[in-house]
Symmetry: C2
Subunit: 276 residues, 2 copies
């Protein structure tokens, strides 16, 4: 039998931190189903009272006390939530005291610090990196590859575009991507497209299991030659031999999330992140 | 005097949770500078030993014990890190026991659960939402607005594109955006572009302080008419009167991060998120 429980994510700001922390704990319980409710921007006591009513009503209705993950900096607001009929995991309350002791310093208790706008430089960098990714997506041009931190290559549907966007948004990394097409890989022996040769050191390859590629492409164009298993096998085999002969580092992304692909590339290619 | 300290973010997976945890705590200390080091994918004891050496060397060199934020699920790996010369804030160690008690259940101790690929459905949804945002960016077409969850409108440089991409990647929301151009706002009285009328209920406006818009546009095209304060004032005034007369909800994004804009829109317009 699968049990259900309601989980609340509560914050005086975006609640991204509360969600990230809470979700990574909840994902450790396979046999539970969680109904998730996010309450962001709880930044005054009236809103806190509203949240308490919602929590207490849930407790009554489900006959189980909800689980609350919170990152509340204001003591008065936190106190209200603490008095609700829930089990509460407050992240600031738990850690900030020990950190203050270690640093011999009081914390600022300022709201929305981390996911708020930090400074103009960070803001511009992220936007600029996103625009770079958009303007250098899918091989539309190679003219600006001199500005790229990394150029992802791979066959169609290996997650190049979302990975570039994630690298830009999360890390301020300038990432371009170039699709290795049928034409690129038709030659024997397969050779690096000449356009890419000047940027060889920036190249990072993506690969995938042919069976998985077949499934992903079939979503897009069912029963096409493009999606057929034999075509997928052929393309993957070709690009992997290209990566090997040209000594391009590469990653098999078959069962990876966009975050995992981006983090792995950042880490393995020693890229400098501009946003932390 | 500003003090410095080295902070490590250590995880057996992407380290996104460890970074989120640590950064939101560190951002509460204004008068400290932190040198940040992320060590992701520490998933065996040899890598853990390598991390310990790095931590201990840092302690020796800086003569201050580093701060370690970790989300290590494997007990043996965690134990190694715990024995390093650092103050350690381990997120699982702190919370998982209390949560297990509450749920009367042992946790699975599985690595990479949250930021790993969850299931095919989530994967496809996010990729599909990203492709939607890319194909419906900057008013390139309004043909597919029937599929949109939300259509952002606003003058140039108000963060429409990164917000749409963030909504797609983070929440699986289908977001299009349409720039209100000079031509759109030249009429008196200003009127909603006819193309947008069928989608009135999906519209969400972005606005900005003219002074801030002037600064942002000047980065892009210094000393242009486009970036001039008077032009920015005129455009902002026009779109805000449009939002008012057409009763379009809107947000002043002057000092907001992309995360804050996206979260606020999600929350205020009651959008259904497809990815949690």
């Amino acid at each position: 039998m699968t049990s259900r429980r309601v989980a609340f994510f509560i914050s005086d700001s975006t609640a991204i931190t509360a969600e990230t922390l809470g979700q990574s704990l909840l994902s450790q319980f396979d046999h539970m189903q969680f109904d998730k409710v996010t309450l962001p921007f709880i930044d005054n006591v009236w809103k806190a009272e509203g949240a308490v009513i919602q929590i207490n009503n849930t407790a009554k209705k489900t006959r189980k006390r909800p689980i609350v993950f919170s990152t509340l900096i204001n003591t008065e607001i936190r106190q209200r939530i603490m008095n609700s009929d829930a089990i509460i995991f407050d992240f600031f309350d738990t850690f900030i005291g020990r950190l203050e002791n270690e640093l011999h310093m009081e914390s600022s208790h300022a709201i929305g610090r981390y996911h708020g706008i930090v400074n103009d430089k960070t803001y511009h960098l992220r936007i600029d990196a996103v625009n770079y990714a958009l303007n250098n997506d899918d091989g539309m041009t190679t003219k600006y590859y001199n500005r790229a931190d990394v150029v992802l290559i791979g066959v169609s549907r290996t997650g190049k575009t979302p990975t570039c966007l994630y690298l830009a948004l999360q890390f301020g990394v300038y990432a371009a991507n170039y699709p290795l097409t049928e034409e690129d890989i038709a030659k024997t022996p397969i050779r690096m497209p000449a356009l890419l040769l000047p940027y060889r050191k920036k190249l990072y390859g993506l690969s995938i299991n042919p069976e998985r590629l077949h499934v992903i492409r079939s979503e897009r164009r069912p029963d096409s030659r493009y999606a057929s298993l034999s075509q997928c096998q052929h393309e993957v085999k070709s690009v992997e031999s290209l990566y090997a002969s040209e000594q391009i580092p590469f990653l098999n992304i078959s069962y990876m999330s966009v975050e995992e692909i981006a983090t792995t590339i950042l880490h393995e290619s020693g890229l400098h992140r501009r946003v932390f």
